[in-house]
Amino acid sequence: MDDLYRELILEHYKHPHNHGRLEHPDISAEEHNPLCGDRIRLDLRIEHDVITDVRFDGRGCAISQASASMLTDELIGMPVEEAKRFSKERLLDLIGIPLAHNPVRIKCALLALKTLKAGLYGVGHAPDDDDL
C-alpha cells in the first residue's frame, strides 16, 4: 500500500496540477483504458515547436490521475520532438513506484503518456503500449 500510494501520488491526485481545459488548443487528444474505464483528455498549446501550455482532465484511479498531473508539469516548455520521445521509463521514474511487475496498474500509470503520443503523432500513428 505504502509502496503504491506514496505521499506524492496522493498529493497530485487530490490537488492535480494543470487540471482543466485550454481554450482553442492546438492539439487535443483523449484515450481510454477499457479495462477499468479510466479516461484522460490532454489539451496542448504549441508555439514554434515547443509545448507552451497543457491542461488535462478525465477520471480514473489515483495512479492514472497523479501520473497525468506529473506528466503535464514536465511538458510545459518542452520541445515537441523531445515530448514525442518521452519514454515510459522516464514517466515511471517520476511516479517513483514499483509498477514494472504490475501489468494492470502500469496501464493506469501510462494512460496519460499514451494520450500525449496519440495527440502528437495523430490518431492511429501512436506507438503501442509496449513501444511507448
Binding site: 500500500m1 500510494y5 496522493l10 477499468c36 474505464g37 477520471r59 480514473g60 484511479c61 489515483a62
Partner: protein, 414 residues
C-alpha cells in the same frame, strides 16, 4: 457436518481447512478471499483428484482398448453423470462438456442460432447480462439479421416484467442470467420460462453465478439450455457445462468439427456422433472434467441449500455493516430477498481500483472494474464498481475486516 440449515462456526472452520490457499498469509495478513464470483478457490480433494488422474490413470478417453484408457473413460463419463444429477437433468446425454459458460453460450448461438434464426426474428436479453451472454447474440444477430431486445431494470436492479408478454411477441429465444454477477439479483427464471414457452420461445439460462451458489433444477425451472463454469464452483478452470434438452441438442448441427464428434468419415463428408459427443470435438479436458465431478460431490456433501443459506446470512450481515460505511453506495437489491452474494459498491468518488488496492494491502481480495458488464454500468451511470462476493468458506469476521479497511481507504483517498 451438522444437519442444521446454516453453517455454524465449527463447520466454517472445518470447511476452510479444506481449502489450502485460505491459510496462506497475504501482505502480512490472513487472506480474506472475497472474489469467488470471478473464480472460486479449490478444496484439497479437487486438487488431489487432478493429481491422482495424472499419476495413476492418465490416458485419452473413448479411444484406447487398454486398462488406463478404460479407467479414464469411466471416470470422465461418471463425472458427466454426477453433473447431470447435480442439476437434475433427465439424462447424462444432455450434459455437454465445454470450456466454460462463454463457450457453452457460443455453442448454442453458433449451432442452434445459425440453424434456426432468420432476419427479423428476435432474441430477448436483459440489461444486466455479462458480456458472455451478450456478445455471442450480437454476433448471431449480425450473421442472421435477427434483432436483440432487452428487459430493463428497476431502481433496485430487478427485471421489469410488466410488459413481458408483449415483449415476447416474435421472440425465438430468451437468454437470461439467473443471478447477476454485479447486482446479485436472482431472476424469476421459472416464471419467465413459462411465459417464454407460452409465446413459443426457448429459454437459455446463464447459470455461471447461480449453479455454484444455490440449488438449480433444470426440470423444475423448465428451461431449455443452461450454461455454467466449473471454476466458479470449486472445480478447475477449463471445464464448463452446456446442458440442453435432449430433443433440442439432437436437432442441432455440430459446433466444432474434428475427432470424437463423428460416426463415419470419408474424404468429402462425415456423419456425426450422437449427443453429447457431437459437440465435444477433440480431446476434452479430462482431468478437469473428473475434478468437476469431485467438486460436485463436495458441494452436495455440504449441501447446496446450506451453502445458499450461509451466503444469504453473510450477505445480510454485510449489507447491514456496509450501510455504516460513510459514503458507500450498494448497487442492486438492498435486502437478501431473491439476492445472491455478489455485492458491488462505490465509495464516494474513490476509484474502484484504488479501493481494491487499499483492500489488497489488508489481505482482502475483491474485484474492481466493470465486471464484464459495460452496458449495466452505463445503466447504473458509474464507470466501475468494487465487488465483494461470498462463498461457502467466507465468514462474518472477513466482513468486519472489509468494513474496517473501507473506512481506512476513504480516509486515505477522500
Amino acid at each position: 457436518m451438522t444437519s442444521s440449515m446454516t453453517l455454524d462456526q465449527f463447520d466454517i472452520l472445518a470447511l476452510r481447512r479444506e481449502f489450502p490457499i485460505l491459510s496462506q498469509p497475504m501482505n502480512g495478513k490472513t487472506l480474506a478471499f472475497l472474489d469467488s464470483a470471478a473464480s472460486s478457490q479449490k478444496p484439497r480433494r479437487v486438487i488431489d483428484c487432478l493429481e491422482d488422474y495424472y499419476r495413476r490413470y492418465n490416458a485419452n478417453v473413448h479411444r484406447g482398448v487398454y486398462r488406463l484408457s478404460e479407467e479414464a473413460t469411466f471416470a470422465f463419463e461418471r463425472a458427466r453423470g454426477k453433473v447431470a444429477r447435480f442439476i437434475n437433468a433427465r439424462s447424462q446425454r444432455e450434459v455437454v462438456f465445454v470450456r466454460n459458460t462463454t463457450e457453452a453460450i457460443n455453442l448454442v448461438a453458433r449451432s442452434w442460432g445459425d440453424a434456426n434464426l432468420r432476419e427479423g426474428d428476435r432474441i430477448l436479453l436483459s440489461v444486466m447480462e455479462h458480456h458472455s451472454n451478450l456478445v455471442p447474440w450480437q454476433m448471431l444477430a449480425q450473421r442472421t439479421g435477427a434483432k436483440l431486445e432487452f428487459l430493463s431494470l428497476d431502481g433496485e436492479g430487478r427485471l421489469v416484467l410488466d410488459h413481458l408478454d408483449a415483449q415476447l411477441q416474435g421472440v425465438r429465444l430468451v437468454a437470461l442470467t439467473q443471478q447477476s454477477n454485479v447486482l446479485g439479483t436472482i431472476n424469476p427464471v421459472a416464471e419467465i420460462a413459462r411465459r417464454a414457452h407460452a409465446a413459443g420461445a426457448l429459454i437459455l439460462v446463464d447459470g455461471a453465478q447461480s449453479v455454484p451458489h444455490m440449488p438449480v433444477d433444470v426440470q423444475a425451472l423448465d428451461i431449455d439450455f443452461l450454461a455454467f463454469s466449473g471454476h466458479k464452483m470449486c472445480a478447475p478452470t477449463g471445464i464448463g457445462v452446456l446442458w440442453g434438452r435432449r430433443a433440442l441438442l439432437e436437432q442441432m448441427p455440430p459446433f466444432l468439427g474434428g475427432g470424437s464428434m463423428i460416426k463415419v468419415v470419408s474424404l468429402h463428408e462425415s456423419s456425426y456422433a450422437d449427443v453429447p459427443a457431437r459437440f465435444e470435438a477433440g480431446t476434452p479436458a479430462i482431468a478437469e472434467a473428473i475434478a468437476l465431478g469431485e467438486a460436485v460431490d463436495f458441494l452436495q456433501e455440504v449441501g447446496m441449500a446450506r451453502i445458499y443459506a450461509h451466503e444469504r446470512e453473510l450477505l445480510g450481515y454485510a449489507i447491514d455493516r456496509l450501510a455504516g460505511v460513510e459514503g458507500l453506495t450498494i448497487y442492486g437489491p438492498q435486502t437478501t430477498e431473491m439476492r445472491g452474494g455478489a455485492l458491488s459498491f462505490t465509495l464516494e468518488d474513490v476509484h474502484p481500483h484504488d479501493v481494491a488496492a487499499a483492500l489488497d494491502s489488508e489481505g482482502i481480495a475483491v474485484r474492481a472494474g466493470h465486471h464484464c458488464t459495460q452496458p449495466l454500468h452505463a445503466h447504473l451511470n458509474v464507470p466501475a464498481t468494487t465487488r465483494a462476493s461470498f462463498y461457502l468458506y467466507n465468514t462474518a469476521e472477513e466482513v468486519d475486516r472489509l468494513v474496517v479497511a473501507l473506512d481506512k481507504a476513504r480516509n486515505l483517498f477522500g
